[in-house]
């Protein structure tokens, strides 16, 4: 039983790491109705910039704010150069633009800082918490627990932001109908500027945590692909959905790996989330917390 719990908790905590990436997607999707394919690239860009700055012997306390500024500027530039000229265009156009953006951001990051793999040390050890392993006989990673704490904080903040504040409401309005939002006097540019700035910040947080865990390398961009099943499960426009989706994906993939893996020779973890997402698409395409698809007849 304690082994089951250990796997479950380990899974849930690693799921939170997916949620962190998924949040970036949700934010952009909620505010512009666009799946930002470049989110993975932004995560990579943030991590690489941070590590690159450290190589100049900057202290982390200086490097983090600088990276944040760089990410916000990147977000604002994206809005200005890529999205502003595409206001009121079909969503597929915007989506294609973000694919282009993804390649650009990934290329730019490697051009600036080089393509070799680097280690990122946040001073958080990925080791079991002594108290828990002594008393409950379980291995719970300190690193994972901290990451979960950070994610919980971000989610609460974002959920309140979207539902309670004037800007948050405006963001949701913009996602529903660009033109009507313009008509009531919501300045689209300003709103998108805010959103891309915040998305840059989320990319930084995800980049730091994922970079610390897996090393800063090009493969970080693939983390974004793991966020897709999370989004499909939770719903693309739901902040709590990103967390719940992440928890479900994390827990089920680890449990499936441990309990069913041996039956089929292992390697379930890689494809199990996608299969789960596929089943969800058949049964509940809008996700658990996603907005219902409203159709008037």
């Amino acid at each position: 039983m304690s082994f089951f719990l250990e796997v479950l908790i380990g899974g849930l905590l690693s799921g939170v790491m997916y949620s962190l990436v998924a949040l970036g997607f949700v934010l952009i999707y909620k505010a512009s109705g666009v799946l930002n394919f470049a989110q993975g690239g932004m995560v990579f860009f943030a991590a690489l910039t941070y590590v690159g700055l450290l190589e100049f012997d900057l202290s982390p306390w200086l490097a983090i704010p600088i990276t944040l500024v760089v990410m916000v500027i990147l977000g604002l530039l994206t809005e200005r150069i890529v999205l502003r000229p595409l206001v009121n265009q079909p969503q597929i156009t915007l989506f294609m633009a973000t694919i282009g953006l993804a390649f650009f951001v990934e290329g730019l990051a490697q051009m600036m800082w080089g393509a070799n793999v680097r280690a990122l040390d946040l001073g958080l050890q990925d080791e079991p918490i002594a108290w828990v392993s002594d008393h409950l006989n379980m291995m719970i990673s300190k690193f994972d627990l901290t990451a979960a704490g950070v994610a919980a904080l971000l989610v609460t903040g974002l959920a309140l932001f979207f539902s309670r504040t004037r800007i948050g409401r405006a963001l949701r309005a913009v996602a529903d109908d660009h033109q009507a939002a313009l008509a009531v006097g919501i300045p689209l540019q300003q709103i998108w500027g805010i959103v891309w700035g915040v998305a840059g910040f989320l990319a930084l947080v995800a980049g730091l945590l994922w970079g610390a865990r897996n090393g800063v390398q090009f493969a970080l961009t693939f983390v974004a692909l793991k966020a897709l099943p999370v989004l499909i499960l939770g719903g693309f426009e739901s902040v709590p959905g990103a967390i719940v989706g992440g928890l479900i994906i994390g827990a089920t993939e680890k449990l499936a790996e441990v309990y069913f893996g041996p039956l089929v020779g292992g390697g379930i973890e890689g494809w199990f989330p996608y299969m789960l997402a596929l089943v969800f698409l058949l049964v509940r395409p809008e996700g658990i917390f996603g907005e219902k698809i409203i159709r008037r007849i």
């Binding site: 206001v87 009121n88 004037r166 409401r169 405006a170 949701r172 309005a173 996602a175 529903d176 109908d177 660009h178 033109q179 009507a180 939002a181 313009l182 008509a183 009531v184 006097g185 919501i186 300045p187 426009e237 907005e291 409203i294 008037r296």
Partner: protein
């Protein structure tokens, strides 16, 4: 062309559109020199068939054109004596000019109340003031109060139109550009909405520029009317005079002094106009 625009010229200039030309996508000429005026505290109707340029005129004023790749290439637009044709929609809403778009355009995934609250975006006022503005909208649209917490996407067409008008009211405009409020609504609901327009106009002196295809009802509630065809104003006058005009009766109201006639015999007004252009 009739020009009995006595009241329009004697009252103070409020909103005036002077000979504007609008081009979409750099090639499609939609408005070919439209001029009109809305005096303060009046309801002015902009009439005409599909594609005549009614919506484009309204969007040129509210400057929603930019988002549709449209551009005002000639002419000027003035509000309270100042040129506004280079301002953004956001600026205009702050100045008190607010457009209610054709086809309602409610935010489907926001509740009715949240929809209304987005209308107050430009006002940055205290919670109490916003609550007061909400109450005012609910006073005019009591039905919205009962539906306040349902998603706008699930409400009826009439309720959505009310939400759209109410949302504009939240910005406390003095000039509302109302585009096709009757579209797809039951006659009774249309009547209800026009009554509220008249109420707002009478009690709060909100001016309206009203684009409508439903000429009968528009002329009944408006003070003055302009008729657009192919991007030009072909006729204007007091609403009563327009309603009595033989041509208008024949082409827009479907009435004729000679009783019912076969459509084959109707000399098309538009065709006659083409000669002039």
């Amino acid at each position: 062309m009739q020009s009995t625009a006595t009241t329009a010229t004697t009252t103070a200039k409020y909103l005036s559109v002077n000979n504007i030309e609008v081009i979409y996508d750099h090639v499609i000429l939609v408005l070919k020199g439209v001029s009109l005026e809305v005096p303060e505290g009046r309801i002015v109707a902009l009439l005409g068939a599909n594609g005549a340029g009614k919506s484009t005129t309204l969007k040129a004023i509210s400057n929603l054109l930019a988002a549709e790749r449209g551009d005002v290439t000639k002419g000027t637009i003035e509000f309270k004596g100042a040129r506004v044709d280079k301002l953004t929609t956001n600026d205009l809403v702050r100045m008190g000019v607010c457009q209610v778009m054709e086809g309602r355009h409610c935010f489907a995934h926001l509740t009715v109340e949240e929809n209304l609250l987005t209308g107050a975006f430009t006002r940055r006022e205290s919670r109490a003031a916003t609550a007061q503005a909400l109450e005012r909208v609910y006073h005019y649209f009591p039905r919205l109060k009962t539906r306040r917490s349902s998603l706008a996407g699930y409400t009826s067409g009439g309720e959505q139109q009310m939400t759209a008008v109410g949302r504009a009211l939240m910005a406390r405009p003095t000039m509302i550009l109302l585009d096709e409020p009757s579209m797809g609504l039951a006659p009774q609901i249309v009547e209800e909405i026009f009554e509220i327009v008249r109420d707002l106009n009478g009690k709060e002196r909100v001016s309206f520029l009203l684009a409508e295809q439903n000429t009968t009802i528009a002329l009944r509630y408006a003070d003055y009317g302009y008729i657009l065809e192919n991007g030009r104003v072909v006729m204007d006058g007091e609403a009563k005079a327009l309603g009595a005009n033989e041509d208008v009766k024949e082409f827009y109201l479907g009435l004729s002094s000679a009783g019912r006639r076969s459509f084959r015999d109707v000399k098309h007004y538009r065709r006659r106009k083409r000669w002039l252009s």
